[in-house]
Amino acid sequence: MTRHASSALFEMRGITVHYGGFTAVDHVSLSLPKGRAIGIVGESGAGKSTLARVAAGLIAPAEGQVLLAGQPLAPIRRTREQRRRVQMVFQNPDSSLNPSHSVYRILSEGMLLHHTLGSRPSREVITRRCLELLRMVGLGESAGILSRRPQAFSGGQRQRIAIARALAVNPDVLVADEPTSALDVSVQHEILDLLAELRQTNGLSLMLITHDLGVANALCDDIMVMRGGRSVVHKSTEGLFADPGPQYAQDLLAAARSVSIAPGMRG
């Protein structure tokens, strides 16, 4: 076993991203062991989503490196297998599913690309796997769902489908960029519960981007607070709540305490 594999499954080292003259992410590093969850917290414009897109291989950083199981990943041109292992759930369920594809196609095309069901699975095998995924994300097992298009579903249901799509290829790391912020409060809780559950059952490592410290507290082992593209605090969730450190983190914490989200969803 290599030194890296024992410590971190997924690592980001010294990531820096510029947009024109503006530095969106400034030398941010983090490491994510297998099965753990890290919350990236901060206001909008703090560079959280940019960091998530670097993690998912959508943006090439100006500096820094992303490593998976100790292997450095090419900034954009990842191999197919590297792609499979790091999946992402997006913020806006209204635009994260292709409007002209059926749920069956949305869920199956990743499996077919990555041959997760063998090289030439029959339609029955694919359907069974799709229904299994739908059950896993709490959408029931009715085959009728598979033939529908995203427009037929509510925001929360679409987000569940998007999560199922990511899970379809058995990833090791799930990057979730504000997965609940476009949803109603009651639905937010359901999706967070689902992510916590999936983390346990699938042994996923989770990188959760949120502006809400309460959400990160409920779900994550570690929390990184970002501001102006920099990491201002990076410690365990307990550690952060015991000793927030800089004034900015204290303020965030005070704001989060005023919102009652029960901790304890953590694995």
Binding site: G57, Q87, M88, S95, E109, H114, A152, V169
Partner: protein, 269 residues
Amino acid sequence: MKRLHLPRTLAAGVALLAAIVLAVLIIPLLSPYDPTAEDISSMLQPPSFVHPFGTDQLGRDLLVRVAAAGRVDLALMVGVELLPFIIGTAAGLIAGYYGGWPNRIITLLSDALIAFPFYLLVAVVAFVTGTGVTGIFLTFLIMGWIIFARTVKGATASLAGEEWVESARVMGFSDTSILLRQMLPNVFSQAVIVLVSDMVALLVAIVTLGYLGLGVTPPTPDWGTMIADGQSFLATRWWVSTLPGTAVVLVGIALALIGDGLNDARRQV
């Protein structure tokens, strides 16, 4: 779930076009007359039981000629439009998805070409290739793709930032696969709507070129040359020009209805 119903305009357009195509295909098979056979003994006959559309100045039966010309002009319309449609859609997908220099090249090229008056270009090409179908084909190849490229480019660019496109990239799909399997299904209906309305313009161009003597060359029958044939006795022998002209108008109406209907159907979804 809301049931989609076919817009009435679309149904009417398809029915009219189907009727025209059927007539154009069947009439030459059933008619006793040859569309190019001249008969001096029955010149410029008005419509009758023997010649339902009458005859022209060379005694040719106009019903079978209108149908035979329809075969030529409609086949030309579809055949000439096919390649520009494919090229323009591909160019639009690439320009809209990548932006940057592919977009600049395609925009520059289309801006430069569109500044050229269409009929001037036709005359130049006809001068080089001689009159006939080749000239029409070449001119439309040069000009026809632009409208598809522009439409598809706009539609693609507006979708390129959607999260489902990023999601396909995260999943590991290649750019080609994203363009063809993810983007194309979402912009295709817009391209087809443009295709249908562009076909009307193309048909008018084909007929106009025939009328000017730059298009389909006799003895092959063509609506444009037929309209030109009857021009000199329009006041006394109205049917020679009017009936092929009516055929052009009917095809135009059918295509316009289909285009409108498709547009309505797209908005419903």
